[in-house]
């Protein structure tokens, strides 16, 4: 029978032959100490019989084999791809990655913002399915995103939940020749909400505070900012693709101070995922939310109302606006800052209109 746990005595004998073997056997026994058991002792409780355990271990393999068989049969019968194995593999990969992550225990490090890249990448395999198959995102101008160095991505904001941020992150990670993590800035409001507070931080987001933006840019990160904020996500369906006010141009001032180029990003498709009919402000106030949306499906269908509609998306990264040519002192020039903010806003708005024209329909 194979011994459990590492064998402690074997290496010590080969490493130190003199110290032990010079003594007489009796003396040796007296001086020797029992080997400490490092591996946990085998559990003595109930164990399933061996064939059942083997079956248990191999169940995922059998399931995948069966599924592959089924998918090829269906393809032969109907001539179409009914079960896409790549899509299934994405989920399987996610499940395995989660198990691997659980095995790390406490042996991982997060950066000072609380970002855990390994953990985030496990989620990207699921987001990639949403990106490719659900919203069928078409991304253009990814070459405008630098492979190294700092840059500030500025995007329009829409949809009730910030799926557009997730998709921009996925786009840069999936499409870019040298995959990068985008660090988005979120409203401090979300940092006070349970679950979201740690999920956002752990996937690389941080508070939309000028100080945080500066620190991220100084670490040569790609930072994503939505200057419209919750005014953008909470706008009714009839106002879709009309950009709100771009804050007070604070993002331009921060970019000038940090010497980072601004890359405007236009997202089309995010506005149709939850068509918001009206906003129940008193309820929102009660729950401490910025708005309480009413869509054709929410809150009537309960949790099913949270499923976003499969609209067709387009993301365009525009060519960078080089604000870093201005000296850092120019950040105090309100006139210049607001002019640049308007330029960024116009670029995004124009890009949104262009991409709306390129899209054949909302869902195709």
């Amino acid at each position: 029978m194979k011994s459990r746990g590492p064998n402690l005595t074997a290496p010590s004998r080969s490493a130190e032959p003199t110290g032990i073997y010079t003594a007489a056997p009796r003396e040796r026994r007296r001086r020797s100490r029992k080997a400490e058991i490092i591996a946990p002792p085998p559990s003595t409780g109930f164990r399933l019989p061996k064939p059942v355990r083997r079956l248990q271990r191999n169940a995922p393999v059998y399931a995948m084999q069966g599924l592959a068989e089924l998918s090829s049969r269906l393809r032969q019968l109907t001539g179409r791809e009914i079960i896409d194995l790549n899509r299934v593999m994405g989920f399987v990969q996610f499940a395995y990655q989660q198990r691997e992550l659980a095995r790390r225990g406490a042996n991982y490090t997060v950066d000072d913002f609380g970002f855990d890249p390994q953990w985030t990448e496990s989620f990207l395999s699921v987001f990639r399915i949403l990106y490719r198959d659900y919203w069928r995102v078409e991304t253009t101008g990814i070459e405008n995103v630098p492979a190294t160095g700092r840059a500030l991505l500025v995007s329009n904001h829409g949809g009730v939940l910030p799926w557009d941020g997730t998709m921009i992150k996925t786009a840069v990670f999936v499409e870019h020749p040298s995959p990068r993590h985008v660090r988005a800035l979120v409203a401090s409001l979300f940092m006070g909400m349970p679950v979201l507070s740690w999920f956002l931080r752990r996937t690389g987001q941080t508070v939309g505070h000028p100080d945080d933006t500066r620190r991220l840019l100084e670490r040569d990160e790609l930072v994503l900012v939505f200057p419209e904020g919750v005014k953008g996500t909470g706008k009714p369906f009839k106002d879709r693709y009309r950009l709100r006010r771009f804050g007070r141009g604070g993002f331009v001032a921060t970019a000038i101070r940090a010497g980072a180029p601004i890359i405007p990003v236009s997202v089309v498709g995010s506005e149709e995922i939850y068509p918001m009919i009206t906003d129940l402000a008193p309820l929102a106030k009660m729950f401490g939310l910025p708005y309480f949306p009413v869509t054709p499906f929410w809150p009537w269908l309960g949790p099913f109302g949270v499923i976003p509609l499969p609209s067709k998306w387009r993301i365009q990264f525009h060519s960078p606006i080089h604000v870093e040519v201005h000296p850092p002192k120019a950040a105090d020039d309100q006139n210049l800052v607001m002019a640049l903010a308007d330029q960024v806003r116009d670029t995004i708005q124009q890009g949104v209109y262009d991409n709306l024209k390129l899209r054949r329909g909302i869902f195709v």
């Binding site: 402690l8 290496p11 010590s12 490493a15 130190e16 110290g19 100490r33 225990g105 406490a106 991982y108 490090t109 997060v110 000072d112 913002f113 609380g114 401090s188 409001l189 940092m191 006070g192 909400m193 349970p194 679950v195 979201l196 507070s197 740690w198 931080r201 752990r202 941080t206 508070v207 505070h209 100080d211 945080d212 620190r215």
Partner: protein, 329 residues
């Protein structure tokens, strides 16, 4: 702390209301509290040029007058004692804490030195510390000949602080849906920072905390505990009450905020001006705490000699054992 200072200064003088934990030959000691007459007399009679004021209570859960008296009024008295044209004091080091920033969901990810005193309803410790630092600032402006250093020390988990006891629980109730970043400071690094500021000339406020962060859940895993997310984040007093009733850990108000939203310091000013940064990272502080948990506890330290002997013997035993293991492997 005094042990570190002793070889570097010609004359060392300590004063406290309680007995010192261990006697040092080079140090003279009197029992005194922070009344300004006492401090003033001491400072002028002995021509003391450096005062290190450490009598600031941070790790306290009771919201009573005593802590306010210690922190604000005590500091005020020390400052008055050191003030005036006849005062020989050239350097003053005041201990403050990370708690001065408080912790909230809207706060930036890092606190730099100029971010204290944002308009927020902080816990009473935060308010007291802010008031205390304001007094120190006023003193520094009034008395430009005296170099005043304020050290905002990070949270420490040695010597059975509340945070250490909380993290050492076998089942740790945490705020439901929150997993903040923790930043800690090792006691040795805190002492080193105080000694360096007493020996050098570094006027102003400094953040002192270990590099890096750990997540709360990670810290609990390192300690071998299990996190149970049950505390409500929007009723922190209720959470503290429940925690005290169930586990006996009396969590101070400012720590409740830290355990929900996290508070991380930016120590770049410290490393730039002192040319030094804490030797321990937050992770190694946690590892040291986890190691300390497995060590045996020495009981009944009635006479100090006996205690030191026992600690020494224990260390010898441990070294022997480790040495043995090293030789074997």
């Amino acid at each position: 702390m005094a042990r570190r200072l002793a070889p570097q200064v010609p004359y060392l003088f300590g004063c406290d209301v309680a007995d010192p934990i261990s006697a040092i030959e080079e140090m003279d000691f009197v029992h005194a509290d922070t009344r300004h007459a006492v401090i003033g007399k001491l400072v002028r009679r002995l021509r003391i040029d450096t005062v290190v004021h450490l009598a600031v209570t941070v790790d306290s859960a009771r919201e009573d007058r005593a802590d306010h008296e210690t922190n604000v009024i005590g500091t005020m008295n020390v400052l008055i004692g050191c003030a005036g044209a006849s005062s020989p004091v050239e350097r003053l080091v005041v201990k403050s804490s990370q708690a001065v920033y408080g912790a909230g969901p809207g706060d930036p990810s890092f606190f730099s030195e100029d971010m204290a005193g944002t308009e927020r309803q902080g816990s009473f410790v935060t308010r007291d510390l802010l008031e205390m630092e304001q007094l120190v600032n006023e003193f520094a402006i009034r008395d430009p000949t005296c170099q005043v250093t304020v050290l905002r020390l990070g949270f420490r988990v040695t010597d059975g602080t509340t945070l250490a006891r909380y993290l050492s629980l076998p089942i740790v109730p945490t705020f439901a849906g929150f997993d903040p970043r923790l930043q800690l400071l090792h006691e040795e690094d805190a002492v080193e920072a105080i000694v360096r500021s007493a020996m050098g000339v570094h006027p102003g406020a400094y953040n002192v905390a270990a590099g890096g962060v750990v997540l709360l859940s990670q810290a609990i895993t390192i300690m071998g505990g299990r996190a149970v997310p049950i505390l409500p984040h929007n009723g922190q007093w209720l959470a503290r009450l429940g925690l005290r009733a169930v586990t006996g850990v009396d969590l101070p108000g400012h720590l409740a905020g830290v355990l929900a939203y996290g508070s991380v310091l930016d120590c770049s000013k410290l490393s730039a001006e002192f040319g030094w940064k804490p030797a321990y990272t937050t992770r190694s502080v946690m590892d040291a705490l986890a190691r300390g948990k497995t060590e045996e506890h020495v009981e009944a330290p009635s006479p100090p000699q006996e205690y030191e002997l026992q600690v020494y013997l224990q260390r010898r035993r441990r070294e022997e054992r480790d040495g043995h293991r090293l030789a074997r492997s």
